[in-house]
Each structure stands twice: as C-alpha cells, then as structure tokens.
Amino acid sequence: MKPILETQSLTKRFGDMTAVDGLSIVLEKSSITALLGGNGAGKTTTLSMLLGLLRPTSGSIRLFDHDFIKDRFPVLGRMNFSSPYVDLPQRLTVRENLCVYAKLYGVWKPDARIRELAASFRIENLLDQRLRRLSSGQKTRVSLAKSLINEPEFLLLDEPTASLDPDTTAWIREFLREYRDQRGATILFASHDMREVELLCDQAILMRSGRLVEKGTPADLLQKYERDNLEEVFLKINRETS
C-alpha cells in the first residue's frame, strides 16, 4: 500500500537559520503519528509545510500521491487541521463558523454534518453561542469539530488537547482513535504531552534543532532506551543530542 505522506529531505531555512533540516518521513494510511520535540525543534514549521502554509526551501512532499509543493489545491480538501496558533472568528456563533467551513470544504449536507459533529463533541448547547463567550476548553472542542467538518483523510493537529481538562483530554484521545479506526484516517499531531503520545500513537517522531533524531513505536522506544515512560526517553534523547 502506498503511504499517505512521504517527505524527502524536507528543509526550511529562514535566512541563516535552518528550522527544518532534511526531514524524511513516511506516514502509512490509518496511522497515528506524534511529532515530538522541544520548543524550536521544528514541529510547527513541519506542520506548516505539510499544510501548504509555508513553502519549503528544498525537498519534496508527496501527499495522496500528489506533488504537494507543486500543486497543493487538489489535496487540501482531503485534509484539515487544528492549532492553538489560529482561531476561528470570535464574533460568529459556533454554528455559523461550522457552516462557513462546511461550505468552504464543499460538505454536501452541512446541517446534518454539523449536528453529527456537535453531538460527537458535546457542543450541541453551544451551537448558537458566539465563540468569544466560550471557555478555552470549549473553543478547543469547536476547533477540533471544525477540523473534522470535511471528514478528512489526513488530519494534522498541533497540541490538540492543550487547555483541556483531564477528562476531556481522555475523551478526545478516544474520539481520535475511533475516528481513525472507523474512517481509516491518518493523523499527525505535534504534542508536548508524552502520556498522550504513549496512549494514542502508533509512531513517534522526535525532532531536535530541525532534525529527525529518532522514530519508532512508543513500545520500541521504551525498550530501546530502557525507560519506563516516553517522557524519560524524550529527556534522554534530548540531552544526548544537545
């Protein structure tokens, strides 16, 4: 089976600074992959390039067997994303926001899809509230609902459970796993939450100073580094490579 995503020697330089340095990764269909790394490791830059928000300096991105750098528009409708770095319009209600994005992605029956997502994300009672009136946890749920509006085959998430309480975090984790299982979607997320990574992902990619320093399943990494949890693995790798 062909991978969903394949990057080769992906590099992004800003002047003299290299934010991502020769990153080559492969994501298989229906996999959940975590992108790990400290601040400035290059996670958000990598996600931005995979979303078409940032043009790589060199290297290639093949997404759904398309040359994504050359022409990203044919595949953008098959993906979506959520990030704490972007917001939805605060003056619009949750329903209006979801309605606009449903239309933007060409969702066939937007009302039914919005109802379905509202039930899944437990935001039915928030649908007619303006976004600015919501708590940060509620906003995160709405942002995640927006990211699933087109039922994406490839979902990119930047710290998906940031600002959520432990109960909602656990629920979102379960929801993402179910979404992957039911739709066969591929999920790539950047996170600092090692517990989340251990519980959710099939593969972890560790970055430091823009470079890939390690990758593997959480179980393999724990075994390889003889540690009890991923946080200790992360600290060990980070200190060894610094």
Partner: protein
C-alpha cells in the same frame, strides 16, 4: 464523505462568513450608513450656504453628488480592506489558507461583500439627500451606475495593494487602510476642475482613474455633455490597476508563504 468543492461554493462560503459578521451587530450596519449620511448632511448645508453667492459651485446639486460618489470609493475600499483585516484580527487566515480556498477566490469574496456594504452605506445617504436638499443622484440615470462602478473598482484596486502590504508586513501597516484614499483625493479633482491643479499635479492626475470620473460627472451635471472618452479612460486605468493590484496580492501571498507569515498574521 460526499464533497462538492466548487469555486462558487467557496466564494459563497466567504460571503456567508462576512454576512454573518455583519448581521451579528446592528451598530455595525448603522455605522456603515452613518458616515456617508453625515457627509451628505454637512456638504448639503455647505452647498445651501454657497448657493446664492456661487451658483456655479452648487448647480445641479453637484457638490452633494460628488460627495456621495467620492464616498463610494472610500466605502468600497474600506469595506474590502476591513473584511480582510477581520481575518487578521481574528487570526483566521491560517484556517482559510489550509482549506481549498484559492487566494483569488478570497479576493473575489472580499469584493462581493465590499459591494454589498457599499450599497448599504450609500443608498440611505443618497435617498435622504432627496427630502433634505432636493438633490437626487438617481436623476443622473444610467451614467450614475458607470460612475459608481468605476469608483468601486478604484476602491478594490487600492484595497488589493493595501491587503498585499498587510499580508506581507502584518498589522503594523493597518493605518494604510485609512490613509491611501486621501493620498489620491487632491489629484482626483473631486470638488474642482482639473485645470485648477498646477501642471505637475495635472500630470499625476492623468494616471488616476477618479480624475476622469469627476471630470465626466461635472461635464454631465454642469454642461449636460456625456463624455464617454473620459469614462473609457477611467475604466481602462481601473482595469490596469486592478490587474496590477491582483498581481501585488498574489506576489505578497507567495512571499508570506515563503517567510512563514500566514500563521502569525494576526500577531
């Protein structure tokens, strides 16, 4: 999932986004009509004051008419640029540009909502001028539409340059939104004929489409002569600036993608 991803659907989505924003606040709608109406009232009284001593200045309701038509340009430009700024203020550009929305579709969506907002702003002022000062710009007839659309086009062209600068340099350049229309105002000969300007300013004015619109308007209202040559010049210049403006926006968008500015556009 069944998706019907079409260009018209995406432009409609943007239109809905700005329509929802507009209807979310009645003070916003009132404000759109408020400024043109105030302009009309103030200039209406100025016109009445000068009518006995300077009939040439106020004949045919020219002063009120040019004020209203000039405001069309201002409204069209402000409506376009403010809608774009809304995306920056709400940090929504990232969400828009990871969707299948093309940059030129964004431009078209902004233009559509700008037209609606301009009409909301101008119609009450134009209608109120009839009972207040006995001046109806609608008496101009079909040429009014031509004057109106030419100024709307000039407003959009200016907005494309401003949004190009905004996307490249961020909200630090926000004040350009308000400044730019006034930069071309002296050259546009809104209240006076082109011959009033010194020679060097006339040379500059020759490259500004609004100059021809107001010259044509004066010719029609004061001499009752329809100068299609002036309107063709205005329209040609507008088309030229629109295409250059589009190019500037697309160029700035590419630069923003290169420098990673789209995610931080609201910060």
């Amino acid at each position: 999932m069944r998706l019907q991803n079409t260009c018209s659907g995406r432009i409609l989505a943007l239109f809905m986004r700005y329509f929802f924003l507009l209807r979310s606040s009645w003070p916003r709608i009132v404000e759109i009509a408020y400024w043109p109406t105030m302009q009309m009232v103030v200039w209406g009284f100025v016109s009445q004051h000068f009518a006995p001593s300077s009939p040439g200045l106020t004949a045919g309701g020219i002063l009120i008419s040019v004020v209203l038509i000039w405001d069309t340009l201002f409204r069209s430009h402000i409506s376009y640029t403010l809608s774009f700024l809304e995306e920056m203020w709400s940090r929504n550009l990232g969400n828009l540009f990871v969707s299948p929305l093309r940059p030129w579709e964004l431009m078209l969506g902004l233009a559509c909502i700008s037209l609606i907002r301009t009409l909301i702003g101008m119609l009450p002022a134009a209608l109120l001028a009839i009972p207040f000062f006995g001046v109806s710009v609608f008496d101009i007839g079909f040429p009014l539409l031509i004057f109106f659309f030419n100024l709307v086009l000039t407003g959009w062209a200016m907005s494309q340059f401003v949004t190009a600068i905004l996307i490249r340099y961020g909200l630090g350049a926000e004040s350009l939104t308000w400044v730019l229309p006034f930069l071309i105002a002296p050259f546009s000969c809104i209240y006076y004929p082109l011959s009033t300007l010194p020679a060097w300013m006339q040379s500059v004015a020759a490259y500004i489409p609004t100059t021809y619109v107001f010259e044509g308007m004066r010719s029609l209202l004061l001499e009752e002569v329809w100068r299609s040559d002036l309107l063709i010049k205005a329209f040609s210049l507008n088309l030229f600036y629109l295409f250059v403006g589009m190019g500037a926006f697309l160029f700035a968008f590419r630069a923003a993608r290169k420098h990673g500015l789209l995610l931080q556009a609201g910060e």
